[in-house]
């Protein structure tokens, strides 16, 4: 314990050997218990021993007991310091319980042949699912579509920035417009799918189709060809999520000190120059954050596609998530569907890490 910490210690801890031994025994004993119960359950599940345990609750109970003993043990072993760790430890254990464990189980499922309709149940099949994925044109097509969808964020960002600048300016009814521009974000993507994708864009009677005819497009079709269908999906998704980027950028704009712009104005800089030399560079951290969050949202794109095009025409609008949804839900292909999801998760984690590193490097020279 450092000298500074003594300032915050309310009670002095005199931890004796017996107390320390009890603490160690408690934590190690609980750990051994959970390991033993889990091992026995595994043997039971594998049919080596026949205890007839119907479910994995005994292991769950042992795990909960271990978590409690671990927290208790911290206080016994470390006194006041142990109490401090109790502010974090339960939350950390909770995350481990509901994220890490399921992820480990998911990895087990991902390398299994498990079709819910198969009488043989789940069977480990090594790298077969990976091989299947490698040769699955539907999955690679969906991944390729995701690249297009993600690239569209550049345009969304430009629009969001423009709208944020407008809302940051001294315009009439500014507060009203700020609320109105946020409305699409408040709508469920499912509602957007039905209201816009299925009703307003309906090719014969939808108001957008009528408008397109009025503009001279003889047979308007918003989902008839791959390119137009993909573009329409992009527009609908953008319409929903541009407000999210806009509100983040707007918050950033409001944080820029007014003096900087005023000084530049006095120096005779044009509005265009002021934007590129002051506003845009100062907004970079916020912009990078907004874009990264938007990419994460975009990579999960599924609901609009499932409802409006079901991935069509011919897979042109399919996203990875909508494809996994079909594979998992419609075809009960749990093993393969899980592998696709895990692989996608790894891709996302790697891509986001690289992006964040790049963004950091990009911004460093300026600050």
């Amino acid at each position: 314990m450092s000298g500074g910490d003594h300032l915050h210690v309310v009670t002095g801890d005199a931890i004796g050997d017996r107390r320390r031994a009890f603490g160690l025994w408690l934590v190690r004993g609980a750990g051994a218990l959970v390991a033993l119960v889990a091992a026995v359950q595994a043997l039971d599940a594998a049919g080596v021993v026949g205890l007839g345990l119907g479910n994995w609750r005994p292991t769950l109970y042992a795990w909960v007991a271990f978590c409690i003993c671990l927290c208790w043990g911290q206080v016994i072993l470390h006194g006041e310091q142990g109490k401090r760790s109790l502010f974090v430890l339960p939350a950390a254990l909770f995350v481990v319980s509901i994220v890490i464990f399921p992820l480990i189980f998911a990895l087990g499922i991902a390398f299994s042949n498990w079709n819910l309709s198969s009488p043989d149940g789940r069977q480990f099949n090594g790298l077969d699912n990976l091989r299947q994925m490698w040769g699955d044109p539907f999955y690679w097509n969906a991944l390729r579509n995701m690249v297009f969808y993600t690239l569209a964020i550049a345009v969304e960002y430009a629009i969001a920035f423009g709208l944020a600048l407008l809302l940051n300016a001294q315009i009439r009814a500014r507060k009203f417009f700020r609320v109105v521009f946020l409305l699409p974000l408040m709508l469920s993507p499912v509602a957007v799918s039905w209201m816009i994708g299925k009703s307003m864009l309906e090719a014969r009677f939808g108001p957008m189709a009528r408008f397109a005819r009025w503009l001279g497009w003889e047979n308007p079709s918003f989902f008839g060809t791959p390119e137009i269908a993909r573009a329409t999906i992009m527009v609908m998704d953008a319409w929903t999520y541009i407000p999210l980027m806009m509100i983040m950028i707007l918050a950033g704009l409001q944080a820029i000190p007014r003096e900087l712009n005023e000084a530049a104005e006095v120096d005779g800089a044009s509005a265009w120059r002021r934007f590129w030399e002051i506003t845009f560079p100062l907004m970079l951290p916020v912009s990078i954050t907004a874009i990264l969050i938007r990419i994460i949202f975009k990579l999960k794109l599924a609901d609009i596609i499932i409802n409006v095009t079901a991935g069509g025409p011919g897979g042109a609008t399919d996203s990875v998530t909508s494809f996994i949804f079909r594979e998992y839900r419609d075809r009960s292909n749990v093993g393969y569907g899980t592998l696709l999801a895990i692989f996608y998760l790894v891709l996302i984690v790697v891509a986001m890490t690289v992006l964040i590193k790049l963004a950091e490097r990009w911004m460093r020279p300026r600050y």
Binding site: N113, L116, G121, R204, F205, G224, G312, D330, S332, V334
Partner: protein
């Protein structure tokens, strides 16, 4: 009866004092006739009782008297308890608890069952716990229960396509003989007779519903001087010819471009595959062969044989005929073709379940109103004989019994307890009874008529229904149900997986990503082979044969 159909009838026939009196007089006459018949003819007494009972239950709450309520369901349940009383002593199941898993669609299904079974519970002493599921959650819940060995229900409401997943895995309890008698199984329409509901020769199902696709067409398109020609198309060849000939013409109702048959070209969670089946069945469902999707001996898909390829080619021909389909048809799923297109006045021919005709009259978005006619699935001028590997120049027709209909099943959980088992089957038999089923087919229940006795139009007329409409609505269903060459889907595990993957491949084919119809069909066949291998070929073969009764 499906809610939409009931509403259609109600909207169509405004109840007047005269019509009510006429209905009441009809009922009285029927009851009197029944009484006379017992004395002077060989008609057994129970039949007369049954006729009187049927007339009475049809008065609850009365045609045009608003939607039935829980009190009405209980009343009907009480009145139809006769067969239960004959076989079960009062209080015989005291202390027995059963769990019933079913749907809660449109507040029907389980909601009705609760009401119907309340008097049954009071009489027998049993208690029922309910698991209500939305349709979208149903498949996942059932599959997960099966896969994880956590079947926690004794009575199950289930569609026949899932019999492979349940009966095929030995999860169901065999139906006792007395249940067949109680529900009068011989009264079921042709296609619901075994092998449907059976597995390896054993019966498992109390049928409570029927399903089939029927042909709906616009009557103003066909007839002397009409734009579609003098006759309603009878074959898929004619359907395609008319669809092409209509290009450039104007719809007589809407003034917009006229269109012919509306193929859904987009997937619909597997259900979209039924629509290519309608076309294909006419080509490939041979009267001498119950199989038409797979070879029962090898599970080799037939979906890429020349008959199926012709069906896919027919759709591609229309895709390649500019103007044959409405714009954006590539993005039209079955829901779109029926409700956004056909009912909104776009297109002139459609295949759908029984409710499109009634929606034509009830839906606010419908403009086709009284210009809808019905028929059975169009046939073909030639058919493909898979066994011989050759086309036969013989007319063929094969209505598709899409989804086969709901039934009640009892799970193995009760098999070890004789009293519980009898209780479960008694509850199922009560709901699948001959008389109570008439009420269900006549009032909103979520179920279609499925017994020959449901097509006794006099009963409907006596109850106050408009005879012409009822005959029109019921006729197309009856003709499809009882067709000798009805195409019944395989009740094997994972059947909707096959449909779902076929939808994906068809979507690619229709979008021009495959070189031909044959290539598209080959891709479906390859995907089906993979599913069969994954689920287990040998077990699929055995289960398919069992489902065909071979």
């Amino acid at each position: 009866m499906k809610v939409e159909i009931y509403n259609a009838i109600m909207r169509r026939q405004r109840m007047t004092r005269r019509s009510v009196l006429r209905g009441a007089a009809g009922l009285g006459a029927m009851a009197a006739l029944g009484g006379v018949a017992t004395g002077v003819s060989v008609r057994p007494a129970w039949a007369a009782d049954s006729a009187a009972l049927r007339a009475q239950i049809l008065k609850i709450p009365g045609v045009g008297m608003g939607s039935p309520t829980d009190a009405d369901w209980q009343k009907v349940g009480e009145m139809c308890l006769g067969p239960t009383r004959e076989r079960v002593a009062q209080g015989e199941f005291a202390g027995v608890e059963l769990t019933f898993m079913g749907l809660n669609n449109q507040n029907l299904h389980n909601f009705l069952f609760r009401g119907f079974l309340k008097p049954w519970e009071a009489y027998t002493g049993a208690r029922i716990n309910w698991i209500d599921l939305a349709q979208a959650d149903y498949n996942a819940r059932l599959q997960q229960s099966i896969a994880t060995g956590t079947v926690d229900f004794d009575i199950l409401e289930m569609g026949a396509p899932f019999e492979g997943d349940t009966a095929g895995r030995g999860l169901l309890d065999e139906m006792p003989g007395w249940v067949s008698e109680q529900i009068d199984e011989s009264d079921l329409v042709g296609y619901l007779q075994p092998p449907v509901g059976t597995w390896d020769g054993k019966k498992y199902r109390v049928t409570i519903d029927g399903d089939c696709h029927t042909f709906a067409y616009r009557t103003d398109y066909f007839g002397e001087g009409a734009i579609g020609g003098p006759e309603v198309p009878r074959t898929w060849q004619q359907v395609n010819a008319v669809s092409k000939a209509l290009v450039g013409k104007t719809d007589p109702l809407t003034g917009l471009p006229a269109h012919g048959y509306l193929d859904p070209l987009k997937g619909w969670g597997g259900f979209g595959f039924y629509f290519i089946c309608n076309r294909a069945a006419a080509y490939v469902k041979h009267p001498d062969d119950p199989a038409w999707l797979f070879d029962p001996d090898t599970m080799k898909p037939r979906v890429n044989n020349p008959g199926w390829v012709q069906a896919i080619q027919d759709v591609m021909d229309l895709i390649n005929t500019p103007g044959a389909y409405p714009p954006d048809q590539i993005n039209a799923d079955p829901g779109t073709t029926a409700f956004a297109q056909f009912l909104a006045g776009t297109g002139s021919m459609l295949m759908w379940w029984g409710d499109v005709g009634s929606s034509a009259r009830t839906s606010d978005t419908s403009v086709v109103g009284d210009v809808v006619g019905f028929g059975i699935n169009p046939g073909s001028e030639r058919r493909y004989n898979h066994a011989a590997g050759a086309w036969e120049e013989t007319y063929n027709e094969a209505p598709v019994m899409a989804y086969i209909g709901w039934g009640l099943y009892v799970t193995k959980r009760v098999s070890g307890d004789a009293r519980k088992r009898k209780a479960a089957w008694s509850a199922a038999a009560h709901l699948g009874g001959r008389d109570i089923s008439l009420w269900m087919s006549a009032y909103p229940s979520g179920f279609q008529p499925y017994r020959n006795s449901h097509f006794n139009y006099e009963e409907w007329e006596a109850a106050g229904y408009d005879r012409a409409y009822v005959e029109d609505y019921l006729g197309s269903n009856r003709d499809s149900y009882n067709h000798p060459n009805a195409a019944i889907e395989p009740r094997i595990p994972g059947i909707f997986q096959y449909y779902s993957v076929a939808e994906d491949e068809l979507a690619k084919g229709f979008a021009g990503q495959y070189g031909s119809a044959q290539e598209t069909a080959d891709a479906i066949a390859a995907a089906w082979e993979r599913i069969t291998d994954q689920i287990g070929r040998e077990s699929q073969i055995a289960l398919y044969k069992a489902s065909l009764g071979l």
